[in-house]
């Protein structure tokens, strides 16, 4: 491989300038960044503060984190492997997301570090323009990859947190509560969309099997409105429950839902509905053969 000294070639991407340069330049570059570590890091912290980023962090944390980021950064430049950085970025994100650090801040500080380091390289190599170009050719792709990795790791971590929260909301959203032997209650609160309706079906049919339920009271007092597909889904769920040998009582239909159901013409002839949860429970107890009475003999509920 011949070494080209033609300056016109140095503006081309790294590959074209020859790997020889990359091989010898990067270690040089890394050594330079290690040597001026303290100064460059402080400069970087200054820039972060100027830009009002990471204000959720104390000065100590800032100093600790920036040192770690700096070292990781230089290490990636040296080894070319982003794995350790990915790991660190995810770890960092996990720590700072709960404190309200935004995506733009994280990306911002990494870009600032890139710029601070690039400037120091300019300063060092300014006398030899061709060499500077080759240094930047080696530096830039690695630096961009680092910025990319950190941003992606941060966003991934955020999405993971969001997914986790969605899962827990979903689990909370349709509790199946055994009230008496063979009697279940499913209180539903909040908007019933398709996904939740599907969830409801799974929970209801699964609950019938695990609790060997004969009667299920589905209370939809807390549901503001339903659309046609959800209404039909409800009817189908009731039918499916019957196939499993359980009867479903729907309670707490709001006036809006009642109007919707009748207007869109859902077949409700097979639906057992009762005004409120109390009435539903009484009916369920009757179906199961329970007779509840008060101790003082003043009649039962």
């Amino acid at each position: 491989m011949t070494r080209y000294e033609d300056p016109s070639l140095t503006v081309a991407p790294t590959g074209a300038t020859g790997d020889l340069d990359g091989d010898t330049l990067l270690p040089q570059l890394v050594a330079h960044l290690r040597e001026h570590r303290t100064r460059l890091r402080q400069e970087w912290v200054g820039r972060i503060q100027q830009a009002h980023l990471l204000q959720a962090m104390t000065a100590q944390e800032m100093s600790a984190e920036t040192t770690l980021v700096y070292d990781n950064y230089v290490e990636v430049l040296e080894t070319g492997s982003v794995e350790a950085l990915q790991h660190y970025a995810r770890d960092l994100s996990e720590r700072i997301i709960p404190r309200g650090v935004e995506t733009h801040e994280v990306v911002g500080i990494v870009l600032l570090l890139r710029d601070v380091l690039a400037r120091s390289l300019f300063e060092k190599y300014q006398r030899d323009f061709a060499l500077l170009n080759r240094v930047l050719d080696a530096y830039e792709p690695a630096a961009n990859r680092i910025a990319n990795t950190v941003a992606v790791s941060f966003v991934e971590e955020r999405e993971r947190v969001i997914r986790q929260q969605q899962d827990s909301i979903r689990e909370l959203s349709t509790p199946v509560l055994p009230v008496r032997e063979r009697l279940l209650i499913l209180p539903i609160i909040g908007v019933l969309d398709r996904e939740r309706a599907r969830q409801l079906t799974v929970q209801l049919l699964g609950g019938i099997r695990t609790h060997r339920a004969k009667v299920v009271v589905v209370d939809i007092t807390g549901v503001p409105d339903v659309d046609e597909s959800v209404a039909n889904h409800l009817v189908r769920t009731v039918d499916a429950s019957r196939l499993m040998g359980a009867s479903v009582i729907i309670t707490g239909l709001s006036p809006e839902i009642a109007q919707t159901l009748v207007t869109i013409g859902v077949d409700l002839s097979k639906m057992n509905t009762i005004g409120d949860l109390q009435g539903g429970l009484e009916e369920a107890e009757r179906l199961l053969g329970y007779a509840v009475s008060r101790e003082d003999g003043n009649g039962g509920p």
Binding site: L205, R209, T237, G245
Partner: protein, 129 residues
């Protein structure tokens, strides 16, 4: 058509017959199941039949129609039919596809089905329209 091992069993339990389907039956096996069962109702003088489909994870339209038909035939031969053990997924899929068991009663499992038959035996309901 009647070749191969039986993939179902019909057992006698007091005045009732318990028919369990062990694995997914194809159409000809379903027909064989239907014939055997309707025959046994007469020969065993059964008053009730429990059909256990807990082992099935699919019930297609032919199968559910056959079950419904068995229910009707059994009624004509003097026995009440209860279908038990329909799995949650199967139940919802059946409803989605617009299939049902018609007038045949369903129950959660074998125990429930037998209890259901007992209540029928104690007080036979008036013929439904």
């Amino acid at each position: 058509m009647n070749g191969g091992p039986r993939l179902f069993s019909i057992l006698r339990q007091g005045p009732y017959l318990i028919a369990s389907i062990h694995t997914a039956l194809d159409d000809s096996q379903l027909v064989r199941f239907q014939q055997d069962l309707v025959e046994r109702i007469g020969s065993d003088r059964a008053r009730g039949v429990v059909i256990d489909v807990a082992a099935l994870d699919v019930l297609d339209s032919f199968a559910s129609r056959t079950l419904r038909d068995i229910g009707e035939m059994a009624r004509l031969r003097g026995a009440v039919t209860v279908i038990v053990g329909i799995q949650p997924d199967v139940a919802f899929a059946m409803v989605e596809l617009g299939m049902d068991t018609g007038r045949v009663v369903t129950a959660l499992d074998l125990e429930e089905g037998l209890a259901e038959l007992d209540t029928y035996a104690a007080a036979p309901p008036a013929p439904r329209r």
